[in-house]
Amino acid sequence: MVAVLDRVVAPDHAAARRALREQISRLEREWSALERPPGAAQATARPGHARLLGVGELERARDALTARLAHARALQAQRGATQEAARVRLERMLLEPGRHRFEQVPASALGEGGCGVYAVRPRLGLIGMLMGWWQVKLSSGCPLPG
């Protein structure tokens, strides 16, 4: 009876560690597949040393990775929303440039690379300004250093 009870109540630490390692493997796969936005990749842990981890340490490792994954996803969602808003603004500028005079949308806000800026400018300078001829121009190139 005691032997049976022992078998029932004795926790199977090896199985728990195996299960936790599988969870960590899955999380690492998701973490590696994630296109991390700036600010999401910083690890807070200090350099460690290779050792066998107990159940508690594996749980902490899993929870830390879960938190980092959630943070990165939240940043990604936030960045997506910001880019969407910038895209809508640019579309409005393109549809009715006259109503968005001198407004600007940096290409970086749209998730594009480079230093370009979409800006509503008058066609032919002063004449365009007086005649109400407005257009969206994309400035190109990054400023030279210094």
């Binding site: 796969r29 842990a45 350099p47 460690g48 040393h49 290779a50 066998l52």
Partner: protein, 199 residues
């Protein structure tokens, strides 16, 4: 190549947790030297092949990914302590290329970049018997010989058996992380040994 690739023992407590973990090693009669021209060319060629885009995608490659997972399983954060191949590639990006650093360093770099498996060199004369993965005196997992710890796992060798100017034979070793096919580990050792052998 001088010697045959040999398998090192793994402490039973470690094998129980990580049955696929392994250690392979190989002795090579080679001394440290300046980078030969053919190795220099090879480094230049590799520098052209590895750029930022490849570096970003590296963590999704099977061998690097297997290392990252194993790092997490043994309490290392691969975003703090990079896995061997990521470490080498990041150094390439920071330096603007794989800069020649002499042998054996360049041979180990090329083997690691080509296969994804880290290779380390020890002074064979300072090693006492076969290599093994075991616990050191602080219960850390380490590469050891009969006299004790030679290097922490995935870290540079301790001073006791590090390659020095007087080294005349080297022992190369590579760790087989779970999920990494043994073929890759053998290839890494063979490649490093080939590059180290005097022409």
């Amino acid at each position: 190549m001088d010697g045959l690739i040999q398998s090192g023992a793994v402490a039973p407590a470690i094998t129980q947790e990580f049955p696929a973990l392994g250690l392979l090693w190989l002795d090579v009669a080679a001394a440290p030297s300046r980078t030969p021209p053919d190795v220099r060319d090879r480094l230049a060629h590799l520098s052209d092949r590895w750029r930022g885009a490849q570096a970003l995608a590296l963590r999704r490659q099977p061998v690097a990914h297997a290392h990252r997972v194993f790092f997490r399983h043994i309490g290392l954060d691969p975003d703090v302590q990079r896995v061997p191949q990521e470490e080498v590639i990041v150094r390439r990006l920071l330096d603007g290329g794989f800069r020649p650093r002499g042998l054996p360093a360049d041979a180990l770099t090329i083997a690691c970049v080509q296969t994804g498996v880290g290779v380390w060199a020890l002074d064979a004369g300072a090693v006492d018997g076969p290599l093994a993965i075991a616990f050191d005196e602080t219960q850390r997992i380490a590469v050891c010989d009969a006299a004790g710890r030679l290097a922490a796992l995935f870290e540079a060798p301790d001073a006791r058996a590090a390659v020095v100017k007087a080294t005349r034979a080297m022992r190369l070793y590579a760790i087989r992380a779970p999920g990494v096919p043994e073929l890759f580990v053998r290839e890494a050792l063979e490649l490093a040994a080939e590059l180290l052998e005097p022409a």
